[in-house]
């Protein structure tokens, strides 16, 4: 093996290696079970939002698809898990997988809508699909509970072993495990040749085509995966709260998750997780100060982020990555 080849292999391996901060993040999340026992409900909320944002990152950060209706998949997953638990099987993991499948298939079915046209067409079709589902959910009251929401869910213990407790301890652990496993999977996907081709399509579709990449299948695949992730996030919400509000399909959720991802920075998977932590803490803090006008603040934050410049604001993860890269690069030499 030549020096160059050895160097190249070290560079490629370094991409896939777990970073110190990644491990620290997960350890902190696990430590929270013992250190913050009174905060587990809000932590569960963060974990669910994080998973939802990671799913958006797969299409926005990696494939460059701007969606105004990502909550369609989140809401569909929530209803799928809720209805399954109410009427058939109340075991959470079964419901999780079921919701992932339902949303994933729906993502697959609607993925051709984002293949064609400009950003604007994509915005409209994703938005339209979400509104359509919201309308359906509202009309099909016999199935979904309509405007009153879906209630009457009572989950059985996870895998028949761990019961959801009042303090939300097992609920948090359950959601965290799902987030860790799914982030691990997403990490694997994004570090594969498939992931590399997605990034190429986003950056320069003309050149990507000239390398023989057919963008359609790649986008369809990642869209379906992302939809399944969002569906599972929705399922977690339904299962940990025993309730599905029609609000899961509301427009503001699609906007919220965009904001979450933008706060944390798109395109490196962890943006959704950091964003969810910051977003939830901000919301808690601001809604204590002015409970009704959270919406005003969220709007102001969005405007401010754009005016200041997303790159400048969310440059910190990139900076961190660059620093770590140069360090691992040196180590690799």
């Amino acid at each position: 093996m030549t020096d160059h080849q050895a160097h190249a292999l070290r560079l490629l391996t370094a991409k896939h290696r777990w970073r110190v901060w990644e491990i620290a993040l997960w350890l902190a999340a696990i430590a929270a079970i013992f250190l913050l026992p009174s905060q587990l409900l809000i932590l569960t909320e963060i974990v669910i939002l994080a998973l939802f944002a990671v799913s958006l990152d797969l299409i926005l950060g990696y494939a460059g698809i701007v969606s105004l209706g990502h909550t369609a998949f989140f809401g569909l997953g929530a209803y799928a898990a809720g209805i399954l638990a109410r009427d058939y099987v109340a075991e959470p993991v079964t419901g999780l997988v079921f919701a992932g499948l339902v949303s994933g298939l729906f993502g697959l079915a609607t993925s051709f809508l984002v293949l064609r046209g400009s950003d604007l067409t994509r915005l409209m079709t994703t938005f339209g699909v979400a509104m359509l589902l919201a309308e359906l959910g509202n009309q099909a009251a016999w199935l979904t509970g309509g405007a009153d929401g879906l209630s009457g869910i009572s989950m059985t213990p996870i895998l028949g072993l761990f019961e959801f407790d009042l303090w939300g301890r097992n609920g948090y652990i359950y959601c965290l495990v799902v987030l860790i496993v799914l982030t691990f999977v997403a990490r694997h996907i994004t570090n594969s040749p498939f992931g590399l081709s997605l990034m190429a399509i986003k950056r320069n579709p003309r050149r990507a085509a000239m390398l023989g990449i057919s963008p359609k299948r790649r986008i369809v695949t990642v869209y379906a995966v992302s939809a399944a992730y969002a569906g599972m996030a929705g399922a977690l919400l339904a299962q940990t709260t025993n309730f599905v509000s029609p609000d899961v399909l509301a427009f503001h959720r699609s906007a919220d998750v965009l904001l979450v991802l933008v706060i944390g920075g798109a395109g490196y998977l962890y943006g959704g997780i950091f964003g969810a932590i910051i977003f939830t803490m901000l919301r808690d803090w601001l809604s204590v100060a002015t409970p009704q006008y959270w919406m005003f603040w969220i709007g102001l934050i969005l405007v401010a982020i754009v005016m200041i410049g997303r790159e400048r604001l969310t440059g910190w993860p990139a900076l961190l990555a660059a620093r770590l890269k140069s360090r691992t690069g040196e180590a690799a030499r």
Binding site: L120, T121, G128, M131, A255, L258, V262
Partner: protein, 286 residues
């Protein structure tokens, strides 16, 4: 039957006036302004405040709503929008969603969350009976005003110096600047005009469409349908799209109330699948 058609036309005309500003910012300036509905809402609230609090007659409120929202639009263009013409669509989307949220919260804070009612002048209340067809007077008023505006707008864009300057500025800003056209002034004026028309539409439609803080989000989808289905290459496309949408929506609500807005969304998605650039755009060219 014909009454429904008539109501549908009035509704469609109103949608056109509300949405045509969006068609200009989106089609000509390539800016995804999801906050367009907020300007319409502002126009509605201006009217409500002027009429209910200060007792100013409805007919005077309409131009006031136009001017107020045009001024707000111009101010926002100069301070904020202007810097984002070249930003990515994602940035424009985030920014304008942010504005919508702020507008909703602000409206809620100042005006409360309830539906606002306005008392139309007596001559606009009730119905006329023409050959057995019941025609709402206010609807007729809306149609007349909107038709005049639509014609004026079409003439302004195609026949006047301003229109040709606008098209030049949009086609190639650098060349237009070289020709001595003040591109940024043109853009401010255009933006102000679009916002003003939305405000006027909001004022005209406060009675028909209802007015509450959620107005910008509730009607966003309608505006976007008008623009995407109509295409953005002219204002005739959005005009026809708005009429069709208005008639379809009114008829749908009357004949198939249980389907709700379902049909409208489904049709929009279908159109976007078949004609991603809109129904009424000429394909080809570049």
């Amino acid at each position: 039957m014909l009454t429904i058609l008539f109501d549908g036309i009035a509704y469609g005309m109103l949608l056109f006036i509300l949405a045509c500003g969006l068609s200009i910012t989106l089609g000509l300036m390539n800016f995804v302004n999801l906050a367009h509905g907020a300007f319409a809402m502002a126009g509605g609230y201006v009217t409500v405040v002027l009429m209910n609090r200060y007792g100013i007659p409805f007919y005077l409120c309409l131009p006031a709503a136009f001017i107020a929202t045009a001024v707000i639009g111009a101010a926002l263009e100069v301070t904020l929008y202007r810097r984002l013409y070249r930003a990515s669509h994602l940035d424009q989307v985030l920014f304008s969603i942010g504005l919508v949220f702020m507008a909703i919260a602000a409206a809620d804070y100042f005006m409360g969350g309830q539906q606002q009612l306005i008392n139309l002048p007596p001559e606009l209340r009730g119905r006329l009976d023409v050959f057995g067809i019941g025609i709402g007077r206010s609807r007729l008023f809306i149609i007349v005003i909107c038709a005049i505006l639509a014609v004026a707008l079409q003439l302004a864009l195609t026949r006047t110096r301003f229109g040709s300057q606008l098209r030049a500025a949009v086609d190639d800003g650098r060349v237009a600047r070289g020709l001595g056209i003040n591109v940024s002034t043109i853009f401010v004026l255009t933006f102000a005009l679009g916002s003003g028309l939305a405000g006027l539409g909001g004022a005209l439609g406060a009675d028909m469409l209802g007015l509450d803080p959620n107005f910008p989000l509730k009607f966003l989808i309608y505006f976007m349908i008008v623009v995407t289905v109509g295409g953005t290459s002219s204002i005739t496309g959005p005009f026809i799209a708005a009429l069709l949408l208005g008639i379809a929506d009114v008829a749908g609500k009357y004949y198939l109330p249980q389907a709700g807005a379902f049909i409208i969304y489904a049709v929009m998605i279908l159109v976007l699948i078949l004609r991603p650039n809109g129904l009424f755009t000429r394909e080809g060219g570049r």
